[in-house]
């Protein structure tokens, strides 16, 4: 690991430890949950160049699935996590297959349209989902590791669990991005025509990216379902889809840490401001407009500019083993 990477990871661990001291554990858990969903969107938007405005479809479908499994079958924790991930991935595979036939605007509107369709189904199918009232009575099963059964009842305990699985998800995402898929996805973003001309089946790789993202988002959805003991209708609404887009954008697209910063900033801001002012989405809108116009690299870019202002960067030594994907690490997507 390079020194920079080590430093960043150290900061991440420090943040995980310090966060429940700075905000309520519930908020802290939400940050890591949405960070996972944000990483998923980052994979398809930041790396592959596909803006999906419908990630809540997978978030919500997984949440409802997990909730129903826990209520009706008393399914154990690890099983619902797996099931939600699979549901998210399968739904993404199916929906993605249709959406990927189109690019750009069409693609965005299709993801949005599918999200709306599932939202309306969830809204009206009150027998299953509880409709507007949400799906209540979700337990928080203990974590069964062999003979041990760790209870996760308190919000602090749940936070520790969420943070731990977040680290697993983060590691998984990092491996994906460091694998050849990282470069392939980016080449598709940069120049799909050339990516095809050098031999990549672009549609297939886009589909792979979308499916992987669906799985991660589903995973996050399951964690969310156990947060409040209820799956709110909002979990599948385009509000969450929009929130996830926000976080990735405000944090910094195309950078692995961007969604984390974005989730933290978003959640912290919404917590802090919403108690003071009910119209806090206005601030969010203003923040988004400012970022889009003046700081498209998000917080990551802001920090980078700050760091550059404080001193010049070390250049990578020539001849050193080049990590592929260094473009993503150093000058991501700006």
């Amino acid at each position: 690991m390079t020194r920079g990477a080590l430093l960043r990871f150290g900061l991440l661990l420090a943040a995980i430890v310090a966060l429940p001291l700075a905000v309520r554990p519930v908020v802290a858990s939400e940050i890591w949950i949405f960070a996972i969903a944000g990483m998923a969107l980052n994979l398809i938007f930041g790396y592959t160049g596909m803006l999906s405005f419908g990630q809540a479809t997978f978030f919500g479908l997984a949440a409802y699935t997990a909730g129903l499994m826990m209520i009706h079958w008393h399914a154990p924790l690890l099983v619902v996590l797996a099931a939600g991930t699979v549901v998210g991935a399968l739904a993404a595979a199916a929906i993605g297959y249709v959406c990927i036939q189109r690019v750009g605007t069409y693609f965005i509107m299709l993801t949005f349209g599918f999200n709306q369709m599932f939202f309306f189904i969830a809204y009206k199918w009150t027998a299953v989902t509880g409709g507007d009232d949400g799906l209540p009575g979700i337990p928080r099963p203990p974590l069964a590791l062999g003979p041990l059964a760790i209870r996760l009842d308190s919000s602090l305990r749940y936070y520790v669990f969420v943070a731990a699985v977040f680290l697993l998800a983060f590691y998984a995402m990092k491996r994906i991005v460091d694998s050849p898929l990282g470069v392939i996805f980016q080449s598709i973003r940069e120049n799909p025509g050339r990516a095809a001309a050098v031999g990549y089946d672009v549609k297939r790789y886009k589909w792979i990216a979308f499916t992987i993202a669906g799985g991660f988002t589903g995973f996050a959805g399951v964690l969310y379902s156990m947060m409040f003991g209820i799956v709110p209708l909002e979990s599948i609404s385009w509000i969450i889809s929009g929130d996830i887009v926000f976080m990735v954008l405000i944090g910094g697209i195309g950078n692995l840490y961007g969604p984390l910063l974005g989730a933290a900033a978003f959640k912290w801001l919404s917590e802090a401001i919403s108690v003071v002012w009910e119209r806090w989405p206005l601030i969010l809108g203003v923040a988004l407009v400012l970022v889009v116009l003046f700081l498209r690299g998000g917080l990551v870019e802001a920090f980078r500019r700050l760091r550059d202002a404080l001193g010049p960067r070390a250049r990578p030594e020539p001849g050193a083993k080049l990590p592929v994907g260094i473009a993503a690490e150093t000058e991501a997507g700006s």
Partner: protein, 286 residues
């Protein structure tokens, strides 16, 4: 189901359908030129309605309508000039995100100015009451709205396809650089087209305010349907938007009469089926 109900549902569908067509046409113009779905389109529709009722208090019904159109169109022009314009060279996705941010700002602003509660608005005295159409009685105002929106939509279509300025717009959509090279002030075209597209949304909102009432979320509520109309009709196709608008309106209305819970979902199912069966939309190219 008796014929009166059916006729009522179909008529409702046509009223809504022409509204959707109006929204679709405005969105299509902007989509064609900017290649981006304008997420603020919904909230501009809402703004049209709200400005309308305030304007109507001061200037009467027609005055209110006029105020609404002008206000929203000017806002649209300002958005294009100060915001969207900066992003042409960057990437279309950012224009979308800008419009999304604006939709939040404007929705919250509506609540700040007019309050979070729903408002009802009466049509002008001249147009209240219903007309007996034989098969059913139908509100006068809605019929008028249907006629007016149809005229508007057709007018737009004719403007874009038959007039010189419409040709300029189409040229700009086809090939911006070429159009600019030919001496057309493409920037002005963009601003004006954006203003026209958004103005249509505002007008739609203003016209529909007596029909549907006002809610701060009315913009968010209608936006997905406007998108469906444009996608189903074929991106950039005005006749497609008109056709799709009618189709969506009627389907939604009929489903509401037959099986209300499935009404909204059926619209999106229709879009999905449409895209799978005919990827370029009903009347789109490619």
């Amino acid at each position: 189901m008796n014929t009166s109900l059916l006729a009522g549902a179909v008529l409702n569908g046509m009223v809504t359908g022409m509204l959707y067509a109006l929204m679709g046409v405005g969105l299509s113009l902007i989509l064609g030129l900017l290649n981006i779905p304008n997420f603020a389109h919904g909230v501009l529709y809402a703004l049209g309605a709200y400005v309308m009722i305030s304007g109507a208090k001061a200037f009467g019904f027609l005055g209110g309508l006029l105020t609404a159109i002008v206000a929203v169109a000017m806002l649209g022009a300002a958005i294009e000039y100060f915001g969207v314009r900066r992003l042409y060279r960057v990437h279309p996705d950012y224009i979308l995100l800008l419009s999304f941010g604006l939709s939040l700002i404007l929705t919250e602003s509506i609540i700040l100015v007019w309050g979070p509660v729903g408002i009802t608005f009466q049509p002008p005295a001249l147009l209240t009451g219903a007309i007996d159409l034989g098969v059913t009685a139908y509100p006068k105002y809605r019929l008028v709205v249907m006629v007016v929106t149809t005229v508007l939509v057709l007018g737009c279509y004719l403007f874009v396809t038959r007039t010189r300025y419409g040709a300029i717009i189409r040229a700009g959509i086809e090939d911006k650089e070429m159009a600019a090279a030919l001496g057309i002030n493409i920037r002005r075209v963009f601003t004006l087209t954006f203003a026209a597209g958004t103005g249509l949304a505002g007008l739609g909102g203003a016209l529909m305010s007596p029909v549907r009432g006002l809610l701060p979320t009315m913009g968010i509520d209608i936006l997905p349907f406007a998108f469906v109309v444009v996608v189903l009709g074929g991106l950039g196709s005005l006749p497609g938007a008109i056709l799709a608008g009618l189709l969506v309106g009627v389907v939604q209305s009929l489903m509401t009469a037959i099986w209300a819970p499935g009404a909204d979902a059926s619209v999106f199912a229709l879009m999905t089926l449409g895209i799978i069966a005919r990827p370029q939309g009903l009347l789109g190219q490619r």
